[in-house]
Amino acid sequence: MGLTQPEGEAGTEVSSMSPNWVTTRLDALANWSRANSLWPMPFGTACCAIEFMATAASRYDLARFGMERMSFSPRQADVLICAGRLPFKLAPVIRKVWDQMMQPKWAISMGACASSGGIFDTYTMVQGIDTIIPVDVYVPGCPPRPEGLIYGIQLLQKKIKGESFLDPDLRQEHMVGPEGLFLPARKIDEVSEPFGNSVHQTRSA
């Protein structure tokens, strides 16, 4: 059993062909490896999740970008992808999932509803998941095509490659504050105002 060296062949010595050491910046090395081995935590709530599945399936093959493995446990995930609308009932759930994810972590808001509430300017719907958790990349579309999501992921990879250990804010956790909100109340009201095709109505209507 086992491999034996054939008679008369010395084999190839790697060291004779290339140097077996390189120099690089630690930043660049860490960022390069992080950007190319992102494990997504899929938080699929609606039709965007179908496009997300298409992105992960063979035709678009998310594995090409180091996302071979979906992480269905938040504790092993690097990037949370919220694919679909987020009702208020799910807000504490996505917040808990986000809090359970370990640094370094990033979030992608996929589609119009996750990014802004979309057409659902109603009593049930969070008007953009950035009022619940911090978001790194917004992917527009209703739903976005897989190319759109892949472009968003590539933007995130670009962002990761530009990160620096020296940035003191980089790994800061943005928790829910003492007033029970992630963002200041004034800011939430401002970003949740009706816009575009939203129903124009007063609060008393």
Partner: protein, 207 residues
């Protein structure tokens, strides 16, 4: 719509209950019967158990509030007889100025459980005799009112910040605990026939 399309159940109802059948109409081929709220349970029980009616399947319970403020709220029971392949719709009108209360039909059809909870959640109509009347779609601490009522603004009563604050303060696990969802934990409270089925499996009984 001719009189020919009226469900024969209407004539039977008028014979049995007389003046308690307020009026009937045919809409899109479906027969709608209006009854007083106080008699609804009695009439529904008769429709279910009478050998000539046998409306043994409760398709849906819902409610309607019309845009016209002076029109009353309606509670709707959609019935079907699986054996006779016949449908009937029963309606009750509720005055909006009085307490919105009707009798639960949970004792007639067990499937009424979640249907009545949904009507309660969305319209605020109480069902007397329901074993577990609490919100079903909105979370149980939801304090903004009843969303499908016409006086409910589309974006809700509270500001977005307040809605977000209340949502983040909610603890879903407190209400939908694993204990509540566990069949094993509820085993002792199950009826005897269900315990038997769980113990032996139903496969051998299906012919």
């Amino acid at each position: 719509m001719g009189e020919a399309t009226v469900s024969p159940s209407v004539a039977a109802l008028r014979t049995r209950f007389g003046g308690a059948i307020l009026r009937h109409q045919v809409s899109c081929g479906d027969t709608i019967v209006y009854v007083p709220a106080a008699r609804a349970h009695e009439i529904l029980a008769w429709l279910k158990d009478d050998p000539g009616q046998r409306f043994n399947y409760l398709t849906d319970i819902t409610a309607v509030e019309y845009r016209d403020a002076e029109r009353p709220l309606e509670v709707v029971w959609q019935l079907r007889s699986l054996a006779r392949k016949a449908d009937l719709r029963l309606k009750v009108e509720l005055d909006k100025t009085a307490p919105l209360v009707v009798d639960s039909v949970f004792d007639l059809w067990k499937g009424a459980d979640w249907l009545e909870r949904e009507v309660f959640d969305m319209f605020g109509i109480s069902f007397t005799g329901h074993p577990d009347l609490r919100r079903i779609l909105m979370w149980e601490t939801y304090a903004e009112g009843f969303p499908l009522r016409k006086d409910f603004p589309l974006r809700g009563h509270f500001s977005r910040a307040e809605q977000t604050r209340q949502a983040l303060a909610a603890n879903p696990e407190a209400h939908y605990s694993l204990e509540e969802l566990s069949i094993a934990a509820a085993y002792d409270e199950l009826p005897a026939d269900m315990k038997d089925r769980l113990a032996h499996g139903e496969r051998g009984r299906v012919k």
